[in-house]
């Protein structure tokens, strides 16, 4: 089986995000960027399936600036086999990403596509679902367990109120949740080997997809600063204060 894993370069989860003074977005200058953590989980899952012998080839694809190549290298160091970099400096919205991926899938014919459930920069949580709709493939979103069995993909999903297990026919789309696995550290030898794995360079134009923005961002603001709390001695004081504030 061939697996495709799209990976996104995003602001590192440790970075303290700052909003630009003109409120047009967040400041990315001089900020550490890394692979979207959900995508790391997707790569890890694909590599585990490969180690179990269920998968022959893992192709990773990233749509983004030249530096997204580093994100692909990280995936290759974790165990993916080859990469495709679709180069663009534009901000590509989920629908355009899904349309490009649809074309990539047309060329690569994977039987399974594993995506992160969302990217931690815009938290859209849309690409996997849109892609499934465009392809008319079954989808198992928010996976906390993925098992390949008799040509089927059994996906346990985290839903409100518990777990749901779906059985998907291949080809299928799976999006990963945090508890699916704990991604490995790429070993030193694998980091060096990743250097020799191939990365194809393409552009959105090669796939005939118009990536122009359909949405416009009105403004981006910082969340309100949390105000200092008040300490109370005991429950009765707490109740009195809450009543005084009209909270109860």
């Amino acid at each position: 089986m061939k697996v495709l894993v799209p990976v996104k370069r995003v602001i590192d989860y440790n970075v303290k995000v700052r909003v630009k003074s003109d409120q047009s977005g967040v400041d990315l200058a001089n900020v550490k960027m890394s692979m979207n953590p959900f995508d790391e989980i997707s790569v890890e899952e694909a590599v585990r399936l490969k180690e179990k012998g269920a998968v022959e080839e893992i192709v990773v694809v990233s749509i983004g600036p030249q530096q997204a190549q580093e994100t692909l290298r990280t995936a290759l160091a974790m165990g993916a086999d080859r990469g495709i970099l679709i180069k663009t400096d534009d901000n590509v919205e989920p629908l355009a990403v899904a349309k490009i991926l649809e074309k990539v899938i047309g060329e690569e014919s994977p039987e399974l596509v594993i995506l992160g459930k969302q990217a931690i920069d815009d938290d859209s949580n849309q690409t996997g679902q849109m892609l499934a709709a465009l392809l008319d493939w079954p989808q198992g979103t928010f996976a906390s367990e993925v098992i390949l069995e008799d040509g089927k993909i059994n996906v346990t999903r985290e839903i409100d109120g518990g777990l749901q297990t779906l059985s998907l026919q291949t080809p299928a789309i799976v999006t990963t949740d945090l508890r699916l696995n704990e991604p490995r550290y790429a070993s030193l030898p694998n980091i060096m080997k990743a250097k020799k794995k191939p990365i194809d360079e393409k552009s959105p134009g090669d796939y005939g997809v118009d990536t122009a923005a359909r949405l416009s961002v009105v403004k981006v603001t910082e969340p309100p600063v949390r105000e200092a709390g008040e300490k109370v001695e005991d429950v009765s004081e707490l109740v009195t204060k809450l009543k005084a504030k009209g909270a109860i």
């Binding site: 580093e70 290298r73 160091a77 550290y185 030193l188 990743a194």
Partner: protein, 380 residues
């Protein structure tokens, strides 16, 4: 920071990820309990950290000294004691891989690079510290065995490690009479002293190693007789960079902690970072670490390129980086006020751990001896 290659950035990020997740949350506990965590050393081995600059033939990662410096710097941000211990293991592993005959390499190096076996480096003796070439431990060839007699002191990992790389005298005549041997932990006649009660590096044992008619196969000699001191010093060139890198990472952690603390701590109605005295202190610390880092990377690059002034640069880097790191860590403690003196804030542990970096693998005075000697040789 020096512009790194894409791989170097990945390597450094990976080491940092491991340090932050696997080491840093445990460092205070290891210090208190006096424990090395073997499972972490094994995990580090699986990632290729057991023989970072050892050749790939027997499982080493075949990376450069600069790569190793980047790695130890990051690992040490998690725990100085484990990072420095791993650096000694790397030095000993590299010595065996570089200088032992092929059968001995094939026997030990694969398990050392995988950290299935851990190695210690045994040079210092009670009467031979800075003047290491005056060492008195003897190794006498008897049939197909060497018989070792004497004692080593201050050995990091004594009693914990599986393999001891021992410098011992096969002949009179100073440095030229020294040879290097591999002694297994279970060799007859090998014993260990009590753990020293130390200021820092408390997670790892330091103890005496005693040889009483300790018998080892003659084939366990590394390289030729009489070359041992040269091997020991070759190991130390890289070892000193590692020790410096570990100091730098520890100091960076102290600075990171101080930077966070001064933004939270309020006095005189504002965060103490608002005081310009605090800002100037932080600016100096940042600058000093950047200068130390630049010299360290320069020295590592010179050792990689085997330039004639590499030894001098390794000594300069070891002296400057470890002194600077201790100073910065101490400044970080000062910025914490009284809380810096408390174990809970962990900066006092960093200060304690970093102190020995100015002393071991050649004291910083000996580093100056080396630098001046190289200058006088004309290697300026």
């Amino acid at each position: 920071m020096t512009l790194l290659t894409e791989e170097q950035t990945m390597i450094s990020d990976m080491a940092k990820g491991f340090a932050m997740k696997e080491l840093r949350p445990n460092a205070a506990r290891w210090d208190k309990e006096g424990n090395l965590d073997r499972s972490k050393l094994e995990a580090l081995g699986e990632l290729g950290f057991g023989g970072i600059y050892t050749t790939e033939e027997h499982g080493g990662s075949g990376l450069t000294r600069l790569d190793a410096a980047l790695i130890f710097e990051q690992l040490s941000r998690g725990d100085i004691s484990h990072a420095a211990f791993l650096s000694i293991h790397n030095m000993a592993t590299w010595m065996i891989d570089s200088f032992a005959h092929d059968q001995l390499r094939a026997k030990y190096v694969p398990r050392l690079t995988a950290t299935e076996l851990i190695a210690s480096y045994c040079l210092t003796e009670p009467g031979a510290g800075s003047d290491a070439a005056s060492l008195k431990t003897t190794a006498k060839l008897e049939g197909d065995e060497y018989v070792l007699n004497g004692a080593k002191v201050f050995i990091s990992g004594a009693g914990f490690s599986d393999v001891y790389v021992v410098m011992a005298r096969t002949d009179d005549g100073g440095a030229k009479g020294v040879s290097t041997f591999i002694v297994d932990k279970d060799a007859p006649g090998l014993s260990f002293g009590k753990h020293e009660d130390k200021m820092g590096w408390r997670a790892q044992p330091t103890a005496m190693v005693n040889f009483d008619d300790c018998r080892i196969p003659a084939t366990n000699r590394v390289g030729d007789e009489g070359h041992g001191f040269k091997f020991a010093m070759a190991g130390l060139d890289g070892g000193r960079l590692n020790i410096a890198a570990c100091a730098l990472g520890g100091a960076q952690d102290a600075l990171d902690r101080a930077f966070a603390y001064v933004q939270e701590r309020q006095q005189f109605g504002r965060a103490i970072i608002e005081f310009q005295a605090t800002q100037f202190k932080l600016a100096d610390m940042e600058t000093e670490l950047a200068a130390a880092r630049a010299l360290l990377y320069e020295a590592a690059t010179k050792l990689d390129k085997k330039t004639p002034d590499a030894t001098k640069f390794c000594a300069m880097a070891k002296r400057f980086v470890t002194d600077t790191s201790s100073k910065v860590a101490n400044d970080a403690l000062q910025l914490h006020g009284g809380y810096g003196y408390l174990g809970d804030y962990e900066v006092e542990r960093i200060v304690r751990d970093l102190r020995v970096h100015q002393i071991l693998e050649g004291t910083n005075e000996i580093m100056r001896v080396i630098v001046a000697r190289e200058m006088m040789k004309g290697q300026v």
